[in-house]
């Protein structure tokens, strides 16, 4: 019996240690990213880093302005969501309400495949199709490749779709059937019921889907790097190349050292803060909307 109790105590301690370790990992990551990034923030100045337009890390008088890349990240995220949200919401509605269970399962499987395809492959695909197409039709004459903001937006929309669809489908399925029946009973037709009643009832779930989609898009690295052209540039012409925060880190880390490397960690801090803002927004949405679907 004593042996048994010892074993029990051992495992209970093990469970407790595991969860403590798992929840401290985030803190450990924050500490090390800041530890590496703070020197550049201190030496170059937080304000200058956020708002200076010039990024010349290897110049004689180096400058570490991130604003163009921050803008590129924000713009590419917003534009890709502009594509992914309507397609995602409409197809979720279609899956939950308009098609048979069998077709829904098949399409959900396709969505899962899309979610599972490594981002390098998505980038490769867009590079060889969309970018090649852009090159042939718009760029050949001016002699640059088709790598551009537009291609990046397309890649990011593809990456956001599975996240948006899976969560919206769940939210729509959780809508209280009484709402639906009441709406149909009052004489609304199926489409009116879906768009005027059910989508409103699933509001918080849909918001969560969009926010999570945005999180996935902001952090996307490899696919964007392959198609965006990687030139630090921000322009209203979407056919020109651009570089996001993530791509900047991944491109320059391999040869950076000293303050330059610290500046890359500082861009990691900026990225991290953006993601944490998203997580907190999500938490607020879910806490506020928790009772909606009950």
């Amino acid at each position: 019996m004593k042996k048994y109790l010892n074993k029990q105590l051992f495992f209970e301690t093990l469970y407790k240690l595991s969860i403590i370790f798992a929840s401290l990992l985030l803190l450990l990551i924050i500490i090390f990213i800041f530890f590496e990034g703070v020197p550049a923030l201190k030496e170059y100045g937080v304000f200058k880093m956020l708002f200076n337009m010039s990024w010349q890390p290897t110049a004689h008088e180096p400058s570490f302005g991130l604003s163009k890349m921050i803008l590129a990240t924000i713009i590419s995220t917003l534009l890709s969501l502009l594509i992914a949200i309507p397609i995602g919401l409409l197809s979720s509605v279609c899956l939950v309400r308009l098609v048979s269970r069998k077709i829904k399962n098949i399409i959900m499987f396709i969505v899962e495949i899309l979610a599972g395809i490594p981002s390098v492959i998505v980038g490769f695909f867009v590079l060889k199709t969309i970018v090649a197409f852009l090159y042939q039709h718009f760029y050949m004459n001016i002699g640059v490749s088709g790598n551009s903001m537009l291609a990046a937006v397309f890649v990011l929309a593809l990456m956001a779709l599975p996240t948006i669809i899976t969560i919206t489908v769940k939210a729509l399925e959780a809508v209280n059937p009484m709402y639906t029946e009441a709406s149909l009973g009052l004489g609304a037709n199926k489409i009116q019921t879906i768009y005027k009643v059910e989508l409103k009832a699933a509001k918080s779930g849909i918001m969560a889907a969009i926010v999570l989609g945005a999180g996935r898009v902001i952090g996307e690295t490899m696919a964007v790097m392959l198609v965006s052209g990687n030139a630090i540039n921000i322009s209203s012409n979407l056919l020109l190349p651009t570089r996001t925060l993530t791509a900047n880190i991944a491109t320059e880390m391999s040869y950076a050292s000293g303050l330059h490397q610290s500046a890359l960690y500082a861009s990691g801090i900026v990225l991290f803060i953006m993601i944490m803002l998203i997580n907190i927004t999500l938490l607020i949405i879910l806490n506020k909307g928790g009772g909606d679907n009950a």
Partner: protein, 271 residues
């Protein structure tokens, strides 16, 4: 809005069109990779990529070896031992946030912590360590979801019969949620196989078959990225990239089918 029949019709058509567009996009991507890659899927590619496949398997194995017990134990603690206190809420927020951390941040952390701070070499071992952290939230979430579906009466029954909480976990909870654990593992394998940004700074690169976990290596995904950027890295040029992309795609499809199979089998068992 939606008061006229034509508006209703328009919305209905748009809804169907969006779904068709979605399916066509995925179909286009998958068929593109298959058509381009199939002609390169031969012995030359297999010989070239054997070291990549072995390295990838090594990372999968070691990362899961670390993440699996850690994840299952954490999930059990969260579901069985805790109330919904403030501390637990913070733990949950931390683990949920970890799930949303972009892989490039994991990459930065891995370089700083494993390579600079702990002084480890750029190796398969370092890559496995960071991947175990990347997939940990996935395993915790899936195990938790499975534990949540257990009929509370079964747990109460076990406790009422005099079994301790520990025995209940071992004999009732873990056997019951084995399918959730398997699902988590399959999804984690998919994530590890496709990951590039989190490991690119810490795995180094090599083209021969690694002899131990402490040697640098290249996984399928990291090598694929290198070849796309610089086709001369491979003797077959961009052709190898199509071949490797096809291998990765096949792995992803297989893993997803496996999830379906597992769910099907256990659904039957649960009745």
């Amino acid at each position: 809005m939606l008061n006229h029949p034509w508006q209703v019709k328009l919305i209905k058509i748009l809804t169907y069109l969006a779904t068709i567009l979605l399916v066509l996009l995925v179909f286009w991507m998958v068929s593109f990779i298959i058509i381009q890659g199939i002609s390169y899927l031969n012995m030359t590619l297999l010989k070239e990529s054997s070291s990549l496949i072995i390295t990838t398997l090594m990372v999968v194995f070691l990362a899961l070896l670390i993440a699996l017990p850690l994840g299952i134990f954490s999930a059990i603690y969260l579901q069985v031992y805790t109330n919904n206190g403030k501390l637990v809420k913070m733990m949950r927020f931390s683990i949920d946030s970890l799930n949303g951390v972009p892989s490039i941040i994991f990459g930065l952390f891995a370089l700083s912590f494993f390579i600079y701070y702990l002084g480890l070499n750029r190796s398969i071992f370092s890559a496995s360590l960071i991947m175990s952290i990347v997939v940990l939230p996935l395993i915790i979430k899936n195990t938790e979801e499975a534990i949540k579906t257990i009929d509370i009466a079964q747990i109460q029954g076990s406790l009422a019969l005099g079994a301790s909480r520990f025995t209940t976990i071992n004999r009732v909870i873990i056997p019951y949620c084995i399918d959730g654990i398997i699902n988590g593992v399959i999804l984690a394998i998919g994530k590890i196989v496709g990951e590039t940004a989190a490991i690119m700074f810490v795995i180094g690169s090599a083209s021969s078959i690694p002899k131990s976990f402490f040697e640098p290596g290249s996984t399928l995904a990291t090598k694929l990225y290198l070849i796309i950027q610089e086709p001369t890295y491979s003797s077959n040029g961009i052709g190898s990239a199509y071949g490797i992309a096809l291998i990765l795609l096949l792995i992803v499809v297989l893993l997803n089918l496996l999830v379906k199979l597992v769910n099907h089998i256990f659904m039957k068992r649960r009745g």
